[in-house]
């Protein structure tokens, strides 16, 4: 398998050398060609800076970035065969949709008839044929998003970078676009690098993902690996609805004295057990009910499948689980 993008110990610091802001702080990663790669993390974790390092809008202060094996340290954005879908779409307001989509071909010197034909093809791909004459200001958020996508794809980039492209859409549209993006990526066989702070989006769309925290990669792996075996407390906290158990509680529940994660769906309610607590919150989810039990200082959630008895708020209960469901992890 070919490597599309490679980060070799990459740093991007801002501000004075004496007190730098470490936006990207020693990142190593490899993105396989044709994969859907997500960069997940809270705001300020360095994921967007990493994306901008690939597109060339940021220069690394250390390390090396390779795109298809080539060092791009000295390559300006306009000479990189990657294209970006911007968070705010960045459509040119003074051009109609067709000219927006054909822009990349226009600046490369392609003739009008030819580039308009290609633009129409791209608009058809994103289901916006017949919208070519409109101005971006006349489109809805979802439509603008598609134009931005078509405009980036018309150049036939080797890597498509997407910077929180679905952030501004409402939930229903976002879910529809998630499916569509995923289908498009499979059909085109392109490498997608997708930045998001939404863990569900990252888990459901990506082939593999990197979880960022304070400029570093906390964990990199498939969605299942990240979800089932979070490497650190941070990953477990951020990615999942997983329970994070402090060492004392893990020990009390029969495990070693270490930080551990425990998935709510692997957690059962039990009348008696080593530790019991009070039910403090109930959330009906349709397929089940999420019951939050406060055990000492830790809140633990258990997913009670539909049809099983649900305790009332304030009741005292204990929890039980199979020991192999307990996943041990690092403290940071």
């Amino acid at each position: 398998m070919t490597t599309a993008v490679e980060f070799l110990n990459v740093f991007r610091h801002f501000g004075p050398a004496s007190a730098p802001v470490r936006a990207v702080d020693g990142v190593d990663l490899t993105i396989a060609e044709g994969s859907f790669f997500a960069m997940l993390g809270p705001s300020g974790s360095g994921k967007t800076t990493c994306l901008r390092l690939i597109s060339g809008f940021e220069k690394p202060t250390g390390g090396e970035i390779r795109i298809f094996g080539e060092d791009v340290s000295n390559t300006p954005p306009h000479l990189r065969n990657v294209n970006t879908v911007f968070q705010d779409y960045a459509l040119f307001p003074h051009m109609n949709v067709r000219d927006n989509v054909a822009y990349g071909l226009m600046v490369k010197g392609m003739g009008r008839a030819q580039r308009y034909a290609r633009a129409e093809e791209m608009l058809a791909l994103v289901h916006l044929d017949s919208h070519g004459d409109r101005k971006p200001g006349q489109l809805s958020g979802g439509q603008r998003q598609r134009v931005a996508l078509a405009r980036a794809l018309v150049n036939e980039p080797r890597v498509l970078l997407l910077d929180e492209p679905l952030g501004a859409l409402d939930l229903k549209l976002r879910e529809a676009m998630q499916d569509e993006l995923k289908a498009l990526q499979k059909r085109l066989g392109l490498t997608f690098v997708f930045v998001t702070h939404d863990q569900h989006e990252a888990l459901s769309m990506a082939d593999s993902l990197a979880v960022f925290n304070e400029g570093k990669i906390a964990q990199i792996g498939t969605p299942q690996e990240i979800y089932d075996q979070p490497a650190t407390r941070f990953v477990a906290d951020f990615v999942g609805s997983s329970n994070v158990l402090p060492p004392a509680l893990t020990k009390a529940l029969g495990g070693p004295a270490e930080w551990a994660s425990l998935r709510p769906e692997a957690t059962r309610l039990a009348a008696t057990g080593p530790v019991s607590g009070t039910v403090t919150a109930l959330r009906y989810l349709g397929a089940g009910t999420r019951v939050v039990i406060t055990l000492g200082e830790t809140e633990v959630a258990a997913l009670v499948p539909a049809g099983q008895p649900v305790p009332a708020e304030g009741e005292t209960t204990s929890i039980a689980f199979d020991q192999q469901a307990l996943h041990l992890m690092g403290a940071t």
Binding site: S55, G56, F57, P76, P77, H78, L79, V82, N83, T84, F86, Q87, D88, A90, L91, F92, P93, H94, Y103, G104, M106, V107, K108, R151, A152, N155
Partner: protein, 312 residues
Amino acid sequence: MTTSAILPARGLADRLTALFWRRPKVLLALLLTPPLLWLGVVYLGSLAALLLQSFYSIDEFSGVVKEEFTLKTYGELFRPSNFDILVRTVTMAALVTLACAALAFPIAYFAARYAKGHWKAAFYLGVMLPLWSSYLVKVYAWKLILAKEGILGWAAEQTHTGWIISGLLSIPGLEGSSLSTSPIGTFMVFVYIWLPYMILPMQAALERVPNSMLEASADLGATRGQTFRTVVLPLALPGIIAGSIFTFSLTLGDYIIPQIIGNSANFIGMAVYQLQGTAGNIPLAAAFAVVPILIMLIYLAIARRMGAFDAL
């Protein structure tokens, strides 16, 4: 205890706010009436009087204004001596506008794209500072700077570049004993005086172009030059047009700078000043004054047709 759903009005302010909420147009009318009265009576009224006067003519023997509608006065504008004034003024205004646009763009671009914090404050101060001192003081200061014994001539002598100035002053039509008595001097001072009026709207327009727009252009493969032509310039055009309206119309109407600096050749403003004063030919003065208005209307129509306001 039960609390009413409607709170009691505390006084006049509450009742007025309630009135404005029920009838939003009342507030609008209260806000707009005074300025509209002022604009309508003072501004549009005087403009109408001006237009009216320009259709009158003057009796050549008695010097009395004949209050009959005629186009004779407008015809007089095309007499060679008068037409020269129009051509000279419009040419000067166009050149001043072009020079202001060329000088202002880099400054406005820097201020809009790169300047932050202290640099931004320094920019505003630098651009506005000249506007705080009297216009006349600045013009006379320039007369001294450009004079034969002035600092510019002195600096040119010290750096052995005096031949540049003498070269410029020997160009036919631009002759003068020094820059302060040549049309080149008039041009330089016009550019200096009106430059802030070009920089500020341009900077405001450039500030509204998001950075991501420029990044998107580069991302799609455009060079800096292509980005400038196809993205920056069209988006900044309303600002450039706004600035050029200032520099163009201010130059068209000014009558002080060409009086103090240059070879005393007549400009529209000076002609108006002389005709309504010493000559007492109000109709011709009015006709002269209508010319800049017409030119500006034509200019705006062309700008609009070229799509300058599409990005608004």
